[in-house]
Amino acid sequence: MHPDSPHIIREFDEAISFLRREVIAMAGQTRLNLERAIQALLERDIDRCKIVIADDSEVDDLQRSIDSTGMDILVRFHPVASDLRLVISSMKVAANLERISDHAVNIAKRAKKMAKRSELSYVKLIEPVYAVADKILRDAVAAYTDRNISLGASLKERDKELDRLHKNVIATLSAQLEEGGERGEDLLHLIFVARSLERTGDLSVNIGEDAVFLGSAQDIRYDRKLAAEIDDEDGADG
């Protein structure tokens, strides 16, 4: 019946629900920040850049709240088994989301600088990289909220596609940079934007690994074979 069956102490269930809601809210805000940062870059929207930079403090506040709620649950209720894994994984997911939001801020800051100059056609290269990074992030959060271990374990493999895209974009931008010209600084900004999106993929893979730990108590970090096995097993089960 666990984990949906009620705890004998109602306050425990309330604290756990609160923790989950906070993580979901933080994930929503982080995705929004990333989406707005990319929109601001593509549409050369300085106001939107400022919103992303300001909203990062909301993500920071949510991380502090999640850590404090998690600590409170550990101290008051001594959770075990899947309850303990939920508290630990929520705090780890929050740490990864906070870093993703920091990358959104980096992108927004670079977009703000670029918006002050004329449009650069190479900006369009970023959009497909973002699309893949956002899908991986979305599924990482879904794996955590649904305790979906096969989805969580599948992200490492999908991140490779993002790595390939990132590599291609970097190659194009670097070649252009070597040719020289006035837009060297903006090309460098785009290289770092692509790099932030690639890091977002890595951090989302971490969240997927936290989801696997939450669902099955398995630590698949640094273990490609185990991750592939979980992915295959659940895939075969349908």
Partner: protein, 265 residues
């Protein structure tokens, strides 16, 4: 050479000390234990957990035949071997079995005698009469139970002058003075404050070097702190048995998870 010693130690540790095989236990017509299979290995600390009435104390009391003293209570099926010998076989003397399988109870129960006499009682029954030898046995048992420094200057004062925690450690000293192989503990800290509890838990972890310990506890944190393995009982059945870290981080049975995480209806 070192490798060989280590290998031998490991082999010794994995030796089965208590083997429970298909045991049913009844109080009259009420079946308190159902088809229990369980192996306790040497120098292992095993915790029994489960709600009141699940059979954990009953099983503990089977190991030294304490249940013989309860009218109408008996093992009705299966076998229990302690160090290879079936404990219900006619050649096993229950009194000798209880010397080899010591017990510490929920409430400390020192005899109305001096601290020294409480510890000396068992060895004296076993035939130790020489005073110097007895002094050595008493000191060793009190040292092993981490009580010596607190009582060495008042050994001949009444045991009732000790605090609750000290009395419980005295009972542990009394139990180990007769050199048992196994120590059974039935909620040994339930009447103690947190500091006294911590001292007894530290003592339990020290004692594992010499003894195999089975402890019944209602305190989940205590089970996680002191035991190597945990057995979860419910309604007379052994639901799950495994390493304590596995039981408390990733239990296999939903009943176990519900109980340890406080979701038992």
């Amino acid at each position: 050479m070192n490798d060989m010693v280590q290998t031998q130690t490991k082999a010794e540790k994995s030796r089965a000390v208590i083997e429970v095989d298909g045991v049913d236990f009844c109080y009259g017509t009420a079946r308190a234990l159902k088809d229990i299979d369980l192996t306790v290995r040497a120098q292992e600390i095993l915790a029994f957990i489960g709600p009141s009435g699940c059979g954990k104390s009953t099983l503990l009391r089977c190991f030294n035949r304490m249940n013989d003293l309860v009218h109408g209570a008996k093992v009705t099926k299966g076998t229990i071997h302690v160090n290879g010998a079936e404990i219900h076989s006619p050649e096993v003397d229950p009194v000798e079995l209880r010397r080899r399988v010591g017990m510490v109870f929920q409430k400390s129960n020192p005899f109305p005698r001096s601290i020294y006499e409480n510890v000396a009682y068992g060895p004296r029954l076993s035939g130790v009469i020489e005073e110097r030898e007895m002094d050595g046995i008493v000191e060793k048992a009190l040292r092993e139970s981490a009580l010596w420094d607190e009582v060495k200057d008042r050994l001949h004062e009444s045991a009732f002058g000790l605090s609750g925690g000290q009395q419980q450690r005295l009972c542990i000293a009394r139990a180990i003075a007769v050199k048992p192989e196994i120590l059974l503990m039935d909620e040994p800290c339930s009447a103690l404050d947190p500091i006294a509890t911590a001292k007894v838990e530290e003592l339990i972890l020290e004692l594992r070097r010499e003894f195999t310990i089975v402890i019944v506890t209602h305190n989940m944190q205590q089970a996680t702190r002191v035991s190597d393995k945990t057995a979860f009982f419910y309604l007379g059945e052994l639901v799950e048995f495994g390493s304590t870290s596995a039981i408390f981080s990733n239990p296999k049975k939903p009943e176990t998870e519900d109980y340890i995480s406080g979701r038992f209806g």
